[in-house]
Each structure stands twice: as C-alpha cells, then as structure tokens.
Point group: C2
Chain length 376, copies 2
C-alpha cells in the first residue's frame, strides 16, 4: 500500500513524528516529576496507546465507554474516564470492573456520588476508584473550591463498600485561550495550585488523596513546575495540529497526522482548487484560525508532508475542500488526480471521522494500518 493509491480521504500518521511527540512528553513528565497518564481521546488507538505508555505506569485516560471497552479488550486495565459519570453509566463501569478493568471515574455532584454509592453495593472483584473534579478556571465541569462542596463529596464517597476515593482532578482547558507561552505557564500554575489546594482540603478533612491529576497539552508543555501534582493527562500532543502549533506546544514539523486528499478540480479564475476532503473529512473546527495566520480548515502539504507555502483550505462543503493561497496556486504541481496532505486545524475533531490510521515511516509507503475506536 502506498499513499499514491489508497482511497481518499484517509488519515495518515507519521510514526517518526508520533515517536518524537511521545518522547517529548515523556521527558516533560520526567522533568516535572509526575506520572504520565496519556489521554487517548484523540488517538483512540491501541497501537498509539502502547507507544504512549511505554516506560510509564501503563495507565491511560479515556473519554468514552466505547474507548473503555476497546482498550480493555486490547489489554489496558488501568483507565481513568475523565468525563463526569452520570448515574446511567454506572452499570457499565461495574461491568468493566467485573471484566478486569481498574476503572477510575470522575464525580463533581452529590447526585452522581449517590448513584455510585448505591451501585457499589454490588459484588465487585476490586473497588472502583473515584476522582473529584475541581474547576481551575476553565468553567467546564468540576466543583469550585469556594465552599464546602469538595469535602462533602469526598465524605459521601468514603467508607463505602467497593468505592475508593482516589483524589482530585482538574483540567486547564482555558489554556487554549492564551496568547503566549507565559500566559500558558500562568494558567498551568493556576491548574497546579488548584489541584494541590483541593488535595490539601481533602487531607485536612481526614480524607485520602493519593492522586493529584492535572493536564492539557499546552499546560503540560509549558508548566514551570508541578510541585504537589502526581500525574498529568495530556492527549493532543501525540498527533498534534495547527492549534497546538499556534499555542507553541510544538513546531510545524511535529504535526504527526494529516488528511490525504485528491485534487478533483481546478478553478484558476478564483485561484481555487477543490479536493475530496471537505467538512466531514477535516471537521468544521476552525479553532486555530484565532492565532492569526491563514489556517482555515487546514494548511496544505505535498504527498511527502512538506508544506506548500501559503496554501490552505479556506472553505469546505460536505465532500469538497476549497484550497487557495496567498499567491497563485501551483496548478501544474497539483494536477487533477494528484494528492495532497492537509495539516489539521484540530485533530481531535478531524480524526474522529476515520476508522483507522495509515501509518508511514518515511516516503509514501503505508507500513501499517491501525484501527481507531469512534462513537460511544
């Protein structure tokens, strides 16, 4: 198989760049003195998880029950499901536990804690671990540290058959709104300080807190130190995207994942060419556009992954990607039927359209095909 021949659109993964990204983040975790529990919500792939956990504890972070089932079937047993667990999903967690998974789940409400408490009366081979989510400024989930909510939740979950209060977790999603490395480092400090303060709160209330978990790719990359933290959970760093480049989490030469597309039309009268990678193949996410450069739905590389200066996808329809450039498009190089690779704007959204990665080492030969787990 070769990138010149496989059906398009397709998702291409550069194994050397993936490895570079994994090495970088493993180095960060080592330097910061924390465990790395890589978040597989982006890659959703067992082969990537194997590489990402090499030399680590083996624990992973996930975002869906579909990932939990998939990774368990692939031999991963230590999983943190890092989305608030509603009562209706507790039974699935118990089933996974009975099948051998060591699940850690996330709670930030008395309702969810109560449902978990009640369900955990069942027979289980080992306890379900629970992390309390705290909000460090992202205003997504998590309890605020003002007030007594955290300690109350902690007590609700303690001393209960089959439940183990494992600690606290926070996520600095607001690092994505930063404009400089210094700002990101400040948000990373806010993330760290909130998590540590939450841990101290639990300890002062006489509750255990072995895990103090933080994580986002920007803050994991730029944190000045992580004193008091035990683990971090970045995920996007593995594959990378234009948004991470804009956030200075990586250089352009570390984006490991691209969308292979075929040129299907030339429209020189409006300096445009069309490819078969449209809104479904690239996603409608344009987050990276805020960093100022012409990014649109992705920037454009040749078949070997070398950027074609100035070319980007400025518009998408469902199955059409419109490419333009600051200057004149190189129509002779990009003949109808020829292929390009599009650097994704936001890879978590883009990758979700594909059932697998086409893995390349050097050149255009497809070395392996790695399946992914989408859906819920």
């Amino acid at each position: 198989m070769d990138l010149r021949e496989i059906p398009t659109p397709a998702l291409v993964l550069s194994r050397p760049r993936l490895q570079q990204n994994l090495d970088f983040m493993a180095g960060r975790a080592r330097d910061l003195g924390v465990s790395l529990r890589p978040h597989l919500k982006t890659a959703k792939c067992a082969q990537v998880a194997q590489l990402a956990t090499a030399g680590q504890t083996g624990g992973i972070t996930i975002s869906t029950l579909a990932e939990a089932r998939w990774f368990l079937a692939q031999g991963f047993t230590d999983m943190t499901l890092a989305v608030e667990l509603p009562p209706g999903k507790v039974d699935a967690i118990l089933d996974l536990t009975r099948q051998g998974a060591h699940m850690t789940v996330l709670v930030d409400s008395a309702e969810a804690a109560g449902a978990l408490r009640q369900a955990a009366q069942a027979d289980l081979p080992h306890p379900v671990r629970v992390l309390l989510e705290v909000d460090c400024g992202d205003a997504r989930g998590g309890v605020s540290l003002d007030g007594a909510a955290l300690a109350i939740l902690g007590k609700l979950l303690c001393g209960t058959h089959n439940l183990e209060l494992a600690g606290v977790l926070t996520h600095a999603g607001h690092s994505y709104a930063c404009h400089s490395v210094d700002e990101i480092a400040d948000v990373a400090e806010q993330e760290r300080a909130t998590a540590v303060q939450a841990a101290e709160l639990l300890l002062r209330a006489g509750l255990p807190c072995p895990v103090v978990s933080v994580g986002s790719t920007p803050t994991a990359t730029h944190a000045r130190h992580l004193e008091g933290v035990t683990e971090m959970r970045p995920g996007v760093y593995m594959l990378g995207d234009l948004d991470q480049v804009g956030l200075q989490s990586m250089g352009m030469d570390r984006i490991a994942c691209t969308v292979l597309a075929t040129v299907i039309g030339h429209y020189p009268q409006r300096n445009t060419l069309l490819t078969d990678a449209g809104g479904l193949a690239l996603s409608k996410d344009t987050s990276a556009q805020r960093h100022g450069r012409n990014v649109g739905y992705g920037r454009v590389c040749d078949l070997l992954g070398r950027e074609l200066a100035g070319l980007y996808v400025h518009r998408v329809n469902q199955e059409h990607g419109h490419i333009t450039a600051d200057g004149m498009l190189p129509y002779k190089q990009l003949k109808i039927g020829s292929r390009v690779r599009v650097l994704p704007n936001h890879i978590c959204m883009t990758a979700a359209a594909y059932e697998n990665f086409h893995v390349v080492d050097e050149g255009t030969a497809v070395a392996e095909v790695w399946p992914r787990v989408n859906g819920w």
Copy 2:
C-alpha cells in the same frame, strides 16, 4: 428499547416527521413537474432511501463511494455520485458498474473526462453515464457558461465506448447565504436558468442532454417554477435542522432528527448544565447561528422532543455540551442523569458521528434501529 435507557449520545429519528418531510418534497417535485432524485449524503441510510424514493423513479444521489457500495448492496442501482470524479476513482465506478450499478458521475474538467474516456475502453455490461457540472453562482465546482468549456467537455465524452453523456447538473449552494424566501427563490431561478442554458448549449452543439439536474433543499423548497429542468436532488429536507428552519425550508416542528444526551452536571453559578453530547456528538458546525437566534451548537428539547424554551448549547468540548438559557435553567426538571434531545445546527455534519438512527414513532419507545454508512 427506550430513549430513557439507550446509551447516550445517540441519534434519534422521528419517523412521522421524516414521512412529513418526504411527503412535502414529493409534493414539491410533483407540483414543479420534475423527478425527485433524493440526495442520501445526509441520511446515509437504506431505510430512509426506501421511503424517500417511494413513488419516485428509484434513482438516488450520493456523495461517496462508500455510499455507492452500501446502497448497491441494499438494492439501489440507479445512483448519481454528485462530486467531481477524479481519475483515481474511475476504477471503483467501473467495478460498481460490473456489479450491476447504473452509475452517473460528475465531470467538470478535461483531465477527468480524459481519464474516464480511457478507462471506459474496458468491458462493461452497460455504459457509465456522465453529467457535466456547471456553476450557477455557488463557486464550488462546475464549469462557467462563459466560454466554450462545456461544449468541449461534452464532445470529449461523446461517441466513446461505454460512456453516455447524460446531461448537465448544477447546485445552488449559495442559497444557504440568503436572508429571505424571495432571495432563495431568486437563487433558485438562477440555478434553473443556468442549468437550462447549459442544456441548450449542449443541444446547439449537437450533443444529447436528457438530464437537466438542479438541487438544494432551500431552492427545491422555494423555487417559483422549474421549467426546462428534469430532476432535483435535495437531501437535507429529509431530516431537517436549525439551519433549514432559519432558511424557512421548514418549521421547527419538522426537524426529524435529534441528539439524545444525558445531563452530567449542574453549574447554577454560571447558569449552565453539562451533557455528554459535546463537539463530537453535535459537530462544530454553527452555520445556523447566522440567522440571529441563539442557536449555538443546537437547541434543547425534552425527552419527547418538545422544545425547552430558550435553552441552547452555547459551548462544546469534545465530550461535553454546555447548555444555557436566556432565563434561569430548569435544573429541577433536568436533573443529573435525566435526558434531553438536542435539535442539530447542521444535520449533515452531526449525523456523521453515528452508526445508526434510533427510530421513534410516538413517545420514547425505539421502534427500529437503522444503520448508516459513514466514511469513504
């Protein structure tokens, strides 16, 4: 199965509303005196295709080779692939033809026409039909009617073994930028007039043009007449979405497809609640926001599909949907663990995240599960 119990997020399809939408468009086609070749790019589902083609010619429109293979396996043989066909996809079309499909493909360049001409030397049980795409103002694909391009392409494709020049096709995607029904009707007239003019051009050049094909849901809904046109190819009308409501293609009570989500967190301090339907479950498309109302990533209904006045998804993370409202959120009604149904912003993008539809008639019982074909 019941909407109270199935795993979330899930895609719910109201069969009565679907049927209303199909009846409406069948009536439009009848009134306008054209064939209806429904576009299955949105529904991607054989059961929906069966209902949508009932009483029609049986021909369908599709957007990917994956759809072509899937619908052929389900017994649909007359298919128009309405995306420009690059040279690398010609072999797949020949394979489909050998398997019994009567394929119509789209061409707007000499390169693609040449590749098709060459490949069609092969033995085939019946010809591949070709439509020439013309641009009616959308600036997506298609040749311009200024100049001789259309007749040149037509001649390239004529008198060739196994190819049959079938006519012309255009798509008024720019109807989506309109602000009133009158404007849409004007664009529909532009679409019609362009297609008819293209057909006349071919006929004057001594070429055949049995098919004159137009189509988009807004123009199919609001066209004043379609004189000279033979078929229309709308697709989104089957399921509907908030964008179509904004374009006045339908009322809110005709949106047939919703995303079932579970409430996972309450955050009254910022008048927000979280559900488990985030960016992957809803898509990042916010097209409908331009119509002025607070739409965000979708508006919110109760479990029976009744709109909860003022509630909408104002922010998404990958697996988190943030719901807020103009007034105070009804937290008591929407307890943690309870379920809502989100009206999609743009259903083509939203539906693509799901492997199937959960079909409901009345109430919350799931009557059937209909599979969909995603990917390429």
